[in-house]
């Protein structure tokens, strides 16, 4: 019995942190309509500031805590004003969501540069000795944590319900247009909500750091846990965030104790999947019902990137010639193997482009399909000694089945919930690749994967793998280019820009989304298999959720909806750290910063910008009028 209560207390403490992160989500969501995925990173930043003030500078705990929260809040103001608020004002909601994923990556990268990659623990505020309550022993830091979070919730409640500022925040949440008419500066309110959420995150981070040690990438953990909590409780509901956080914390603790700590995460994610199916709006639904016959998202405007068939062919052929010639140049071997990796990742990014760029469905779980493809092909070809080619094809079939199963969940979901479901899928696969030790080798990975082979021909050198990846990507680009320039591509775009109007023309929106997801899953799976055969080794972190974020950054950097763009994104993010070894430490921060900057300053991406420039060159008559149109849409 006492162990039951002990676990319950542990669950409540952990749940309290999730609840605090979820509160931050809800606060920002209510004012801006966007889920800020960087929320969890503020916990780590708070703990990191605390570490410097308290441990390194030896300042008193209370002073250090206040200074930490203030400095993170100041950082939040700067980042929010420079990136988040402008993005909310001029980007579609789905892009803003992805931009915050970039912020999360950026913050993690900053923490990596400052802290390095080892875990840090802070000293408890009031000594190590736990308080004994009857047979129970409660760490004093747990009391600090519980008290601190309760105080924050109370303060937030007072602010929102009892002050003029709070009423202004509420007004923005209820009707931003009306709030502006009443003279409320909605941008300032957005910034305020972002900053408050940063302060909440920092406070909970420095309160929890003495109990759980944190490291640079713990932000992702807090974000996903808070995200799940808010999905259970109800997006935008304060009460829901608290309940959702506590439910999640308790469920995880009990699962860890009674089942296995390896599967605690899996069970939490299954709980979430169940919630999404049973009650997608969460326990405490909030928010007004939208009129369906009026377009909700007025910012779906996107630059027109259209290359004429002849120019596209010229670009493609030039690129292919350059790439074919590369292995003949005297290049260091690691450059060639980096190029091979870029090409393999490009195949997965191509799939992501069909799904995100063309169909407008945000997927935060692309690496999950890479994992399915990689592990399935690797296991089939090692344990069951299948020929690699059969393994790859079987893995693709398995991935498509997973995609079909996932679309049964996502079929009814839109917007944030869809992104959430794909993220959940990715995390579920992450936890399975770690947890199913007998099948996947667990955290230490799967070794002894053979080279890829077709019949007796083995792709056992870097050069051969390079040409294999190049050949496959060339064929895939050619096929997809054909599909995207035909009615199929137009149907995808119609679904991206206006599902209701598309359905009114007889476009089967559900079918289109399922096809896009299946194509995307099949390509990710193919890339995952090649990845495993290329390295002869596969471990969970090679195909984990951060990889999903990285591939999104590649796609956005290269240009969504351009197919070829992903190649440039993959090259930049893979090749740069190889060419300049000293950059490796900065890779995560750079990836995040590039993603954010691309959205803000060049939403059409590198290749999109190049294509617009190229289509303006020369050309008369119709081409010129389309050039003018491009110019005006690009603004």
């Amino acid at each position: 019995m006492s162990s039951f209560i002990q676990i319950l207390i542990g669950g409540l403490l952990q749940g309290g942190v999730f609840a605090a992160v979820a509160l931050g989500f809800s606060l920002v969501y209510r004012v801006t309509g966007v889920i800020n995925l960087s929320q969890g990173a503020f916990c780590v930043l708070g703990a990191m500031a605390m570490y410097y003030f308290e441990v390194a500078f030896h300042w008193p705990t209370a002073l250090a805590a206040v200074l930490s929260v203030l400095s993170v809040a100041a950082f939040g103001v700067a980042v929010g004003a420079a990136t988040f608020v402008p993005a909310v004002a001029r980007l579609p909601v789905s892009s803003t969501l992805v931009l915050t994923a970039g912020l999360l990556t950026f913050f993690e990268g900053v923490a990596l540069i400052v802290w390095g990659n080892q875990p840090y623990a802070l000293p408890p505020f009031s000594g190590q000795a736990p308080v004994a309550v009857g047979p129970l022993r409660i760490p004093t830091q747990g009391l600090w944590l519980a008290g601190g979070i309760a105080a924050m919730i109370a303060a937030l409640w007072l602010l929102v319900n009892r002050t003029a500022l709070g009423r202004a925040l509420q007004a923005c949440a209820d009707n931003a247009m009306a709030a502006r008419l009443m003279g409320i500066d909605t941008r300032r309110m957005m910034l305020l909500s972002f900053t408050l959420a940063a302060a909440i995150g920092a406070t909970s981070g420095l309160l929890v750091a003495p109990i759980t040690s944190l490291q640079f990438d713990s932000g992702g953990f807090f974000t996903t846990s808070g995200f799940i909590a808010v999905a259970i409780g109800g997006m935008g509901s304060f009460a829901g965030s608290i309940v959702g956080g506590l439910v999640l914390g308790i469920a995880e603790q009990f699962a860890a104790y009674y089942v296995s700590s390896l599967f605690a995460n899996t069970l939490a994610l299954l709980l979430l999947m169940f919630m999404l199916l049973w009650r997608p709006q969460g326990l405490f639904a909030s928010g007004p019902v939208r009129r369906l016959d009026v377009r909700a998202d007025s910012l779906v405007h996107r630059a027109l990137v259209r290359l004429s068939g002849r120019r596209a062919l010229a670009v493609g052929v030039t690129l292919l010639i350059v790439l074919v010639a590369i292995p003949q140049l005297p290049l260091p071997n690691d450059v060639l193997s980096s190029l091979t990796i870029s090409l393999i990742l490009f195949i997965a990014v191509l799939g992501l482009d069909v799904l995100m760029g063309w169909t407008g469905q945000v997927s935060l779980g692309q690496a999950g399909f890479m994992a399915v493809g990689g592990y399935a092909a690797a296991i089939l070809s090692t344990t069951y000694e299948w020929p690699p080619l059969a393994g790859v094809l079987a893995a693709m079939a398995i991935s498509v089945v997973c995609a079909l199963a996932l679309s049964m969940v996502t079929g009814r979901l839109r917007g944030h919930y869809l992104a959430l479901a794909t993220l959940t899928f990715g995390l579920l696969i992450d936890s399975l690749t770690v947890g199913l030790v007998d099948l996947t080798g667990g955290p230490s990975g799967l070794v002894g994967i053979p080279s890829f082979a077709v019949g007796a021909f083995e792709f056992d050198t870097t050069e051969r793998m390079f040409y294999l990846a190049l050949g496959l990507s060339a064929v895939l680009v050619l096929l997809l280019e054909g599909g995207m320039r035909s009615q199929f591509g137009r149907a995808l775009q119609a679904v991206r820009s206006d599902q209701l109007a598309a359905a009114a023309l007889g476009v089967n929106v559900g079918w289109i989304k399922v096809s896009a997801l299946c194509i995307s899953a099949a390509l990710a799976s193919l890339a995952g298999s090649l990845y495993a055969f290329n390295f002869h080794f596969l471990s969970p972190e090679m195909v984990a959720t951060p990889r999903s974020f990285e591939m999104i950054a590649m796609l956005v950097l290269g240009g969504e909806g351009t197919l070829l763009g992903g190649l440039f994104g993959a090259l930049v993010l893979t090749l740069l750290p190889t060419l300049v070894q000293s950059l490796a430490l900065y890779k995560t921060a750079t990836t995040g910063a590039l993603l954010v900057a691309t959205f803000l300053f060049m939403p059409e991406g590198l290749f999109g910008r190049f294509a617009i420039w190229l289509s303006r060159l020369g050309g008369a008559g119709r081409t010129r009028s389309s050039g003018a149109a491009i110019e005006t849409t690009a603004q």
């Binding site: 377009r295 405007h301 996107r302 599909g483 209701l500 359905a503 023309l505 476009v507 081409t623 009028s625």
Partner: protein
Amino acid sequence: MTPALDIRNVSRRFGGLLAVDDVSFSVAQGGLSALIGPNGAGKTTLFNCVTNLFPPTAGSVRFFGQPLARLDGHRIAELGLVRTFQTARVFPGMTVLENALCGAQMHVRTSPLAQMFRTPGARSEERRLRDKAEALLDLIGLTPFSDAAATDLPMGAQKNLEVVRALMSRPRMLLLDEPAAGLNDSETADLAALLTAIRDVGITIMVVEHNMSLVMGIADQVIVLDAGKCVAIGAPAAIQSDPKVINAYVGSDG
């Protein structure tokens, strides 16, 4: 002959508000009906009920004898009932020509895979669709803009593009929600000619419209809604002199 559209005792309630109240009428095949009434009379809501965007709370809708209850939006379009929207909803991020081509989606016979492999069948279908779309764009004078972004067109042209897009789907009946809103007089005259031409090729039309001169000039049946109720149905001339209609528009003087 079965009517193209048969609306029987349709009501739609939003909370305490009865937006459409027990409306019944039918539209004959090949006819051009106009749904008129003051703002808030429930005209667009009735359209939304017919296309199941907001399913009716009571009553039934039949399209060429087939009940539409519980059918998805795209299934209704597949039956040949295609609508446009009050605020033009051209697809942003696509050209004018691509927008028009989107309308043909449900008649595309080649599979996505065939399109990817550019099979002869897929290429000839693509050419055929393009020819048809270009011919229709030419009809409404949008040819010079076919490669421009659809959202760059002025509002009137966007509404015309929406009509072309709907025509590409080869509908049996078109529901047009305020096609003349925002058009000037000469544009309205062009629209009247376009609508009559569409009717003359055998496509049944129902419009929601405020512009009386357009309605009275081309409609063969006018349905007047007021506060959710159907107050008059008849030929344009009869409607114009109906005291209930004058009452609905001008208000009672007693």
